[in-house]
């Protein structure tokens, strides 16, 4: 999974897509910097290298769709709401936090978006939501982001069984970054994700590209099928550029290098330098300004009821 998968030129994106990609990238880099300076409490899991997954899916998911995210969910949230202020305030425990600072990085609920910090737990819940949508709001779907490591949890299989059996509009997006915290996928998974989906009669689609336009084109008809109550597992072969959380990366240098070689950020900069550098500078400065502004806010308040 650490091979260089895609050496083709990345297609040109609209400014809005590139800005969103860069927003997630600089947001995550800023978090690591803030943690490094001891300005954040607890821990965080950045999605560096994986930003293009939720950005690709963004226009394919509507406001009626439910999204379930996981511990590595900042990109998922930003692709849904473009609200870096609220998310950073949540992570920093400042006024304007999405969840008052109670949930923090990995427990966020806003409208039809919900993240939890326990692996696999959200799949059965998403199945329940999909059951509701199928009956009450046909055409809407429940999308769940999980990782390769999540497939170690039995809840995944119980939920896949239900999704197939009950024909639920459930979209499972797997961000297979080849490593679960410190454990390589090869050391924790027998067989394959495709084989596991097949066992339940659930369609599986593999995405190896990092080209947002190309991914969207390939997924669009498949997502439409999900809306027609055909559950789907989409497996992105992706790369986690950063550590699992912060400063806990024990991967060999060549594995980290392979992740860097596949990084859309560097590749896009090479392929479209003018657009890239114009927006990169802009977004970097914007994130800096957001961080300064949010850090200066008063502490968040928990309005218990």
């Amino acid at each position: 999974m650490t091979e260089t998968l895609d050496r083709l030129r990345l297609s040109r994106l609209g400014d809005d897509d590139l800005e969103l990609l860069l927003l997630v990238r600089h947001f995550e880099l800023k978090l690591l910097e803030l943690y490094g300076r001891g300005e954040l409490n607890g821990t965080t899991h950045t999605c560096l290298g994986q930003e293009y997954v939720p950005v690709s899916l963004r226009p394919l998911l509507g406001e009626h769709d439910h999204i379930f995210s996981n511990h590595r969910g900042h990109g998922h949230y930003l692709a849904r709401f473009a609200d870096p202020h609220g998310l950073l305030a949540e992570i920093m425990g400042r006024e304007g936090a999405v969840c008052g600072g109670v949930g923090g990085s990995q427990h966020i609920h806003r409208d039809r978006y919900l993240s939890t910090g326990v692996q696999g737990e959200s799949l059965p819940v998403a199945a329940g939501v999909a059951l509701h949508l199928k009956r009450a709001e046909p055409g809407a779907l429940a999308c769940v982001y999980i990782g390769d490591g999540t497939w170690g949890e039995g809840a995944v299989y119980e939920a896949l069984n239900l999704a197939s059996l009950w024909r639920l509009p459930l979209l499972v997006v797997v961000e297979n970054n080849g490593i679960a915290q410190s454990t390589p996928t090869t050391s924790q998974m027998a067989g394959s994700i495709a084989g596991r989906a097949a066992a339940f009669g659930v369609k599986h689609h593999l995405v190896v590209s990092t080209d947002v336009n190309e991914i969207r084109t390939s997924l669009e008809p498949l997502v439409t099928e999900v809306r027609d109550c055909r559950p789907l597992v989409v497996e992105f072969v992706t790369h986690r550029l950063g550590p699992h959380s912060k400063g806990d990366d024990i991967r060999p240098a060549d594995a980290v290098q392979a992740a860097r070689d596949n990084d859309w950020y560097v590749r896009y900069a090479n392929d479209h330098p003018d657009q890239f550098h114009r927006l990169d500078r802009l977004v970097r400065a914007e994130v800096q300004a957001i961080a300064d502004e949010v850090a200066a806010r008063p502490l968040s308040r928990w309005e218990e009821s």
Binding site: H107, V118, V125, A127, L131, R135, A155, E158, N161
Partner: protein, 324 residues
């Protein structure tokens, strides 16, 4: 009316009154109607809202939470309460947490039904009282079925809390009659508390959840006839959080808590602590705890009855509390 029929009627009533209500669980569909027949007739009357699931307690509880999250009312049946261990993550880390961990209250109308307890020879993994494992979880309320509480009203109360509830149903109650009590006793209700006694100033007060009520009443009868000891029984519907204030007017100098749970980390220990904080000065001694032995629950009838707390355990505990 038998308790099982009352519970069945409550579920019929709920599905009838609430078009968003779902009942789901293993083998709950007609004609089987659930391992204990509590869901009998439901799927015939409400097809589509009564859902038979695979043997996946974690998933079916998660599905219930997902239905609740989208504004529905969800009642999940765990076939034997022991198996709620398989749904612990969904209950502890998802459903109960979701009520408050997102910063503002997220109401969930969700009940997980748990047929509970021993006395029927089902053995160590089908006879436990799991209540104690869920005591003290923020966002989770615990209720217990009782012959003195109409189940329709209890379901209304649970759902009005807007947070997940576990409903423990002592299996031995299913075949007993609602409100069954020896005519020597008087029964009254004070809010959600059932109060059963012989006179205004009893020698001793016993707090017991619904499943222990008939065993406590049997002990109370022999105590008064053989020992001239007069007891009062208090049966709360909600075990946690416990409404201690509602109990205070009914207490005396000697108080016991009786439950079927095996020893160690019991609900009664929590009740005793709450009472000690409030009425220590009024008590003749510490609140006494009556529970089953610290043991697995054996299958053979003679062994099972040695382990489980019953009429004689309560009888002896009361005598000891009063006469040493």
């Amino acid at each position: 009316m038998r308790v099982a029929e009352n519970l069945n009627a409550a579920l019929h009533g709920l599905l009838d009154d609430d078009p968003t209500a779902y009942v789901l669980g293993e083998d709950v569909l007609d004609p089987y109607g659930g391992a204990f027949k509590i869901t009998k007739g439901l799927s015939m009357r409400f097809p589509g809202r009564v859902i038979g699931t695979p043997i996946s307690e974690g998933a079916l509880t998660g599905v219930a939470a997902g239905l609740a999250l989208t504004g529905n009312t969800a009642v999940a049946e765990i076939m034997f309460g022991d198996f709620v261990a398989l749904a612990f993550d969904q209950i502890c880390n998802f459903a109960s947490k979701s009520v408050s961990m997102y910063g503002k209250r997220l109401p969930l109308r969700m009940v997980v039904r748990c047929p509970t307890g021993g006395g029927r020879g089902y053995g160590p993994t089908h006879s436990q009282s799991m209540q104690k494992h869920f005591v003290g979880m923020p966002g989770l309320s615990l209720y217990e079925m009782s012959p003195f509480h109409d189940n329709r009203a209890v379901f209304t109360a649970m759902l009005q809390r807007g947070e997940p509830c576990l409903f423990f149903e002592d299996k031995v109650l299913y075949t007993r009659q609602m409100d069954q009590v020896d005519p020597m006793f008087r029964v009254r209700r004070d809010g959600e508390l059932a109060v059963i006694d012989l006179e205004d100033r009893p020698d001793c007060v016993i707090i017991a959840p619904g499943g222990m009520a008939h065993r406590t009443l049997a002990a109370m009868k022999t105590l008064v006839l053989q020992q001239e000891i007069s007891c009062r029984l208090l049966v709360p519907s909600r075990l946690y959080p416990l409404d201690v204030d509602a109990m205070l007017p009914h207490l005396g100098e000697v108080v016991l808590v009786a439950e079927e749970s095996t020893a160690g980390g019991t609900w009664g220990g929590e009740v005793a602590h709450l009472l000690h904080e409030r009425v220590w000065d009024r008590l003749r001694g510490p609140v006494r705890l009556v529970h089953s032995r610290a043991s697995v629950i054996p299958t053979a009838a003679h062994l099972e009855s040695e382990v489980l707390a019953g009429e004689s355990t309560i009888h002896d505990a009361v005598r000891k509390a009063l006469r040493g």
